[in-house]
């Protein structure tokens, strides 16, 4: 076998092995999230229920509550992780992630506005969340535009915009009625409690549209990863390709936020963790798996692992774990002299 073919085969095998392990972890977590709980279900009963022959109580708990919740967790994990992976690689900066730059914050602010100011509910709120993400992303894009979009400026503008969005959220909440504010809280901290099949269907449908587009874009993104000059030399129109991929990423972040609110740091940490595991170019597949694992595991931990039966939303767990990672990243960047 030739050196090139051999090397490619070895690389593909190592990526496949690592992805297989991640997929296995995901399956274990998925099964755990269906069986564990204040009412725990044995694996035998779980299989019976899933094949349609279980008791009605089990059926309600598994099919009506836990299965949709776990499904939504996996789907939004994928959406957030891919959004983050695209942002970071397109802008060449690990800080460039939709949750750090206020894109998901924009979705929250729009949702809370719809809820508290306009008195909307249900799908209309989710739609506003999507609109908010797109609006904020467009604002960052235009404000940072100077003969093209460059990672560093994009991140600085994004961080500034994210503070603006936070301020708006704070203002809305202080003005709101206590009970309304309570229901608006889910838009500040992403939560999977109360996730229904409708939410799963929404995210699944969105991903069904966005993922094929992403697959068509991937060969161009692999070249764009080499820098604009090299990509242009290879025949990629760098600016339009990047804009399209960013729009795709914003749509994914908006989709996830519309379904469950902004689950902190999932977009931010998934791709770096995935790349550490598979060490392969864009590592989009592995990032998606890692994102799903993080959301599912955080939701499980938030429900069952805290002392005294305390239950917290998944977004609090991811925030508590993600913030130290951000600090570590900043400390490391300080030492090596930059984030580029």
């Amino acid at each position: 076998m030739s050196v090139v073919a051999g090397s490619r085969t070895r690389r593909r095998r190592s990526v496949a092995t690592a992805s297989g392990v991640l997929a296995l972890v995901l399956v274990v977590l998925f099964v755990a999230s269906l069986t564990l709980g204040s009412y725990s279900i044995s694996p035998a009963n779980l299989i019976a229920t899933l094949t349609g022959s279980g008791e009605s109580g089990d059926r309600f708990i598994v099919l009506g509550l836990r299965l949709p919740r776990a499904t939504v967790a996996v789907l939004v994990g994928v959406a957030f992780a891919l959004a983050g992976a695209l942002f970071q690689s397109l802008l060449g900066n690990p800080l460039a992630s939709p949750d750090i730059l206020g894109v998901t914050g924009g979705a929250s602010a729009a949702a809370v506005t719809a809820l508290l100011v306009l008195g909307l509910s249900g799908p209309a709120v989710a739609a506003s969340a999507g609109g908010g993400a797109l609006l904020v992303a467009a604002a960052i894009y235009l404000l940072s535009w100077r003969a093209g979009v460059h990672g560093y400026r994009f991140v600085l503008v994004g961080v500034a915009v994210s503070f603006l969005v936070e301020a708006m959220l704070g203002y809305l909440l202080t003005r709101a009625d206590v009970r309304d504010a309570q229901s608006a809280l889910v838009w500040l901290v992403g939560s999977l409690s109360g996730a229904r099949w409708e939410d799963a269907a929404l995210v699944a449908l969105g991903l069904a549209v966005l993922l094929p587009v992403l697959m068509l874009l991937t060969p161009h993104l692999l070249v764009l990863q080499l820098g604009d000059d090299t990509a242009t030399g290879l025949g990629v129109r760098a600016a339009p390709a990047r804009t399209m991929a960013l729009a795709l990423a914003v749509a994914m972040a908006a989709l996830g936020t519309a379904a469950v609110g902004p689950i902190a740091f999932v977009a931010f940490v998934s791709a770096p963790i995935a790349r550490r595991i598979v060490r392969d170019g864009l590592a989009l597949g592995a990032s998606a798996l890692v994102g799903a694992i993080i959301v599912l595991a955080s939701d499980l931990a938030g429900q069952h692992l805290l002392p005294g039966g305390l239950q917290v939303p998944a977004g609090i767990i991811t925030g508590a774990v993600g913030a130290p990672y951000l600090l570590w990243l900043l400390a490391r960047a300080q030492r090596s002299g930059g984030l580029a």
């Binding site: 073919a5 490619r8 820098g227 025949g235 392969d280």
Partner: protein, 269 residues
């Protein structure tokens, strides 16, 4: 000889950055099948010209032609199969292997219906062999030395199978041994494959040694061009670089060699 010969020229080219014009109305024809080296002082516009010719910089006037056609009328991928480019600061994504990086050079030859094939593998292998990087195939690009990394990037440009190879200061950041290694590689490529090479170099003496055609830029215009022996004179160096010098014969290959004169080491006449 596998490379095809193309006309490659700038016609009345105007280039600049954000409203500031650096080059205005420049005409330059790159001789096919030769090594052309562009030299000039800092801010003489040499890199700007190269970027303009490699379509990294949009012309604000005039045009760049390949075989008499305006490059803007040629589809980008088709053009990429003719002109390969090694920019000054290419970025390798973290964790990428040499084979993966060089393989991405096949991009212009691929499409939705043309996925990776055995031919691609053969061409990538040939590019690695030509740059003596075959034994680095499985290594991560970030773990390589500067000289190795530059050879890998050249391998990527070769995998593109360009007939014209454009390089922006390919020897910057390399020590002198690695500079010669890279330039020898490019010369070999030109002599064996017939690939047209166009590059910007900083070092006048290396430029004079490796160029078939030397272009000296000053103030955003071509001061003079031709064979190094005709071009490199004490007068030209003074005009282009504001430097007093003596020009002697390079004892190794007879090409003109510039020996600069500073304030302290002037001739004692």
């Amino acid at each position: 000889m596998t490379a095809q010969q193309h006309g490659f020229a700038a016609v009345g080219l105007r280039l600049g950055y954000e409203g500031r014009t650096v080059i205005d109305g420049l005409d330059l024809s790159i001789p096919p099948g030769q090594v052309t080296v562009i030299v000039g002082a800092n801010a003489s516009g040499k890199s700007t010209l190269l970027r303009g010719m490699a379509r990294l910089l949009r012309a604000t006037g005039g045009l760049v032609e390949v075989d008499g056609r305006d490059v803007r009328s040629i589809p980008t991928r088709q053009l990429a199969a003719i002109i390969g480019l090694l920019p000054q600061h290419p970025t390798a994504p973290e964790g990428i292997t040499v084979v993966d990086l060089v393989g991405r050079g096949r991009y212009p030859h691929r499409g939705i219906l043309r996925q990776w094939s055995a031919t691609d593998a053969v061409i990538v292998e040939r590019a690695l062999a030509a740059t003596s990087t075959l034994d680095l195939a499985d290594r991560r690009v970030e773990d390589l030395s500067g000289g190795q990394r530059q050879r890998v990037w050249i391998a990527m440009a070769l995998a593109q199978e360009p007939d014209i190879l454009v390089l922006d200061e390919p020897t910057t950041f390399l020590d002198v041994a690695h500079q010669l290694e890279v330039l020898d590689l490019l010369l070999e490529l030109n002599r064996t494959e017939g690939t047209t090479v166009v590059m910007v170099l900083h070092d006048l003496n290396l430029a004079a040694r490796y160029a078939d055609h030397l272009v000296v830029m000053a103030g955003g215009a071509v001061l003079t061009e031709g064979r190094p022996r005709e071009v490199i004179t004490e007068v030209t160096v003074r005009e282009a670089f504001g430097l007093e010098c003596r020009v002697v014969d390079d004892p190794v290959c007879g090409s003109p060699m510039v020996v600069p004169i500073g304030r302290f080491h002037g001739p004692s006449i």
